[in-house]
Amino acid sequence: MHLTLRNDPDEIGRLPGLLESFSEGHDLPPAVIARLNLILEELATNVMHYGFRGGEEDRIEIDLQRQPSSILFRFRDNGAPYNPLEAPAAAVDAPLEDRVPGGLGLHLVREIADAITYRFADGWNELDLRLDYLAE
């Protein structure tokens, strides 16, 4: 399944419906779809906030592929080059007083995805991700 998102936060709101169609076609457990939705929401939100430069050509391209025990997906965007694997670690042990909002999105992505690789090629950030779902 291929999805294209324009640079508009409302596009992220389309994900649940789009992923439901993907799930129905592939008989996937709802918990896995929720994790997939979360990873895509966090990555897309991050790109829209920090990566895109506000042009008409801003695009996110997502390819989803179901394997017997995992979902393989590629998340591409043509925003500023940025490797989310190098984002600073979130302070998840800090007490309430020291917690500042933000920074948790990419932390969630890195914790929930079972594998992630990043490359920048031909003007596109490309992330290849794997989400396992039988080995739980």
Partner: protein, 111 residues
């Protein structure tokens, strides 16, 4: 997303139903601020039993509400998250910044 308020003797319970994400976070922040004003210092308990989905935008809503409760001399706690939502709270270390009770009964007994 829906937020249903229920007044108890020792706490104001807000039942969050649906999705707490980037699409609903602004409205939820405003609703919880209003609930907090109404609670007038009473502890606030967020019942998550009907919350289907939580992303970092939703975690921010909870963090902001917890901080503002603390600043007002009150406190905010959570109860009854589904396994999926609990996983997100755990990964984010929220168990170390606010009480997360397994059930509403347990939470109200502790309020």
């Amino acid at each position: 997303m829906e937020i249903i308020e229920e007044k108890h003797d020792n706490a104001l319970v807000c039942r969050l139903a649906g999705r707490l994400d980037g699409q609903t976070s602004a409205e939820a922040t405003a609703r919880l601020a209003a609930s907090q004003a109404e609670a007038a210092g009473k502890p606030i308990l967020l019942d998550l039993s009907e919350l289907d989905y939580l992303s970092s935008a939703g975690l921010r809503v909870i963090l902001v509400a917890a901080k503002s409760a603390k600043a007002a001399g009150s406190r905010l706690s959570l109860c009854a998250p589904t396994p999926e939502v609990k996983e997100i709270l755990d990964i984010s270390g929220f168990g170390s910044i606010l009480p997360i009770h397994a059930s509403r009964e347990e939470a109200l007994a502790d309020a």
